[in-house]
Amino acid sequence: MPSFDFLPLLWWGLPLALAPVIIHLINLLRHRKVPWAAMEFLIASQKKYRTRVLLRQLLLLLLRVAAIVGIALLFAQPRWRSAVGAFLGGSRTAHIVLLDDSYSMSDRVGESTAFDRGRGVIERILEELVSSRHSHELLVGRFSTISSTDSATPEDLERKETTRWDVTRQMVSPQSVQAIRNEIKSLVVSQSAATPREAILAATEMIGFGSGTSNVLWLITDFRSKDWKVADETAAALRQLSDQGVDLRLVDCAQGDHGNLTIERLDVVGGVSAKGVLVPLEVTVRNSSDRPVRNVSIDFKEDGAARPSVRLEEIPARGISSQRLESIFSTSGSHLISARLENDAVAVDNTRSTVIDIADYVDVLLIDGDPNGGSRTGDAFFVAAALAPGSGVATGLRPRIEPPRALGELDLKTFDAIWLMDVERLDEAEVAAIERYARSGGGVVFFLGPRSNATTINQLLYRNGDGLFPVPLAGPVDMLVDSVEKSPDVIVQDHPVVAVLSGQRNPLLGGVSINRYMAVERGYIAPTGSGLRRLLELRGGAPLAVERPYGEGLVVAFLSTASPTWNNWARGNPSWVVVMLELESHLAHVSRKALSLEVGDRLEVKLIPGTDESEVDFLLPPDGAVLRVAGTIDAAGSMTAELEAATIAGPYAARWQRTDGSEAEKLFSVNVVPEEGDIERIGRERLDRTLSGVKFTLEKAAELRPDSESFAGISLVTPFLYGLIVVLLLEQFVAYLCSYHSLSRSNRIG
């Protein structure tokens, strides 16, 4: 809908459109009188051409009216605007400013960050608006604070506008500008990884408010590739706005083309998190520049105390590099490990921390199918001996050998992993308990043997792929003796558990001899996406050990015995101990994956009613400020105290009192989303492709010079001028047809 810069001129000019009608009426009164003799010929002509003359004159009259309307419109300076009410309500423009405050905007070049430049853009827009002769509304929000929800009642929107938008919708005027300016100056970059899409959707909700105004959406961001990968969603959101007539103005705040290093991962990788044993850690750093980076030093701290630094020789261009380190914790409880890179363009992703819960011992449940469980010839014995060899060798593991019925009696969550060895049969409750355990992230290991029944396993545990067991079984098979080539019976596959044994000439596995094993059903092919992997293979290609994810957990099945019944692996071969410890570490690592927290996540402490007091003190980074939170009890009777969202990265601590007067503490490590540290730019060409069909302008923050005239829409003066010329030419043509032009004497009679 067009609006007008000089609307009063239109109101004055439009009545002039009646001038041709009035002139026509006056001419009717001002006819020159001519006494005429040859009236009969004149009347004959008038009868013959009456309709044509009337139509032409009417058309001429309309064209003249249109010409005057066109001139009035030109003087009123029309502009194309989106809102219907602009015509009636004057030229009011609503500016919705979305400022990217994800931590990639802290990318520093010289003295300023991208966020500083974005804030400067808003200040420039504000100055232009306040000096404009049009009316402007302003609404400013940061990506991290605004978000969309499905419920969008007017009350919701008003509440969200008040609580989430930094500058709520208000008219820009000399009286309000100082307060807005102060508000904008106070904005700071967050440590979130908020994306444009969520912000745009939030803005879409707000655009519905002020009908009768045109809307300008300012998207001030750094255009990182990662934010525009989900092109369909972001582009679709912008396209929807564009289709609604919103003037889309994209402002690029990023400057220069430089790299950034991000600590992408710092985590325990295997091992046993128990006191006195080596806990393996791994740190991974990503390089988001186009050039490789060499000699990157990483500083470590363990519970605040500095540890020796590690050095990465080279991180490839747009690639990652990892380094392992080990730590021994002498005490049980939560320990904080932090890693730090030297400062670069984006500082916040140069630090990463993790909390490791160290136990006195890690309990492992061994279910032995042997009625004489624990005997020195049973499977559980050989596994327990491998996991906890004793004699001063600390593994941190505490194996507990139980019969199958213990699956229904014990709290399985307290065990780091559950091993089932040559179990003849499980009832449905026991199967359900162990499946529940695995689904929730636990690790389960099966060893098969003489008591194992392929049919029973297939029916109870495999269940056509729905059950816990990874593969369907055919039955026990004897391994033929290879007396000719004497090749090893066991072949190592590419898997972290047996990685230590990989290599062409490994004397440890060469001594392992497999006599009998449980064959997999002939012709079985694992379904695509099942995640089935082989750890070990037999000579001849039959699987010996396989792994398959189950829910959040992992299941590993050895298709032979743990004891030296069907093979001799456990009898004095050192590789047996190594593989069993690696396997336990591998299973436990899976169960710890869910502990990683990121900025924006909720911090939750589960309290035990009657044991714990109901109030929890959260100590917040960076200075340990205390926020006291009262626990709430849900319908199930569980009590929880939670911090709604962690807004900055760093170590958090939750402390609370127990009813017996003792104090409890839980540490949290909150890190930034590492992907946000990838500051690769999308580039104009790719952006144009991504936003194909969306009408937008893109300007560099440094070059942006807001023009309030252009805010009011696209000027229609030129098209109207051309239109007017066309109307005037048509008017002359029709006037010629109506014979209002000079007389030609060519058709003379006589």
Binding site: A37, M39, F41, S45, Y49
Partner: protein, 303 residues
Amino acid sequence: MNFLAMPASKKYLHPEAIRRIARMELRARTVVEGVLAGLHKSPFKGQSVEFLQHREYVRGDDLRRVDWKVWGRQDRLYVKEFEEETNLRLTLVVDASASMEYGRGLFTKFDYAATLAASLAWLAISHQDAVGCVLFDDRVRASTPSRMSRSQLTSVVEVLETPRGRRTTDFAPVLRGLSETLPKRGMVVILSDLLGDREGVFRGMRFLRQRGHELVLLHVMDEDELEFPFEGPTRFEGLEIPEHLACNPRALRKGYLEAVEDFLSTVRRRCASSKCDYSLVRTGEGVDAALVKFLSRRSLLAM
């Protein structure tokens, strides 16, 4: 020369026109029924009663017309010439209806027709022809019978200057009455714009033809009526019919000219079928030019 400044009796005698016409070889105009008199015998053998003059006898003259008394006194042969001895009996029938009052210059159509009629009368008189004049609208308003005398011009002019009422035209009874009252055959010249009772014109002409009169129709039309040059909002008010039309004349011009063209074609066709000599006379032309054109046409017809 300012025509309006002329004395009333000479008002319609355009000196310039007369001067030009005097150069014409008038004798060529007619052979048997010459328009102008004096150079040959008239086919109409009228009886003269009014002595005009003597002249010497020439071979071939009728011996009955020799004045023997002069011969007895002077011993010379003279023949008597009488006033009635004319070659042509010309009757000018001038339309004085309201439609003839249209004109935007010095002349209305009636002024033009009257000037033309007076010029013809003068020419006829100067060539010893008898001339009469009838002024009419819906009936005869004034008339003078055909006579051949110098004073007849005054009579014709007096008829032409008869005050006119703004009346409609009714040709048929006027021309019928004329055909009944004209004593001898002669030439009847009608000067009219033919607006009004068009059928009546042709019906009246038929009466005249039946009586043996030669008919000449001088169709007087104003330049405006033939070109319709009006521009701007105009209200046309009928001179003869009580109607008016407010219009943009440019828009109606094409249709008007088509109607006029159709009208003129019809008149020409009907005149031809009635053996009437038709000439369109435009008031934009000089009267002399109109006379020359008329006389030239008569010459061609006579050959």
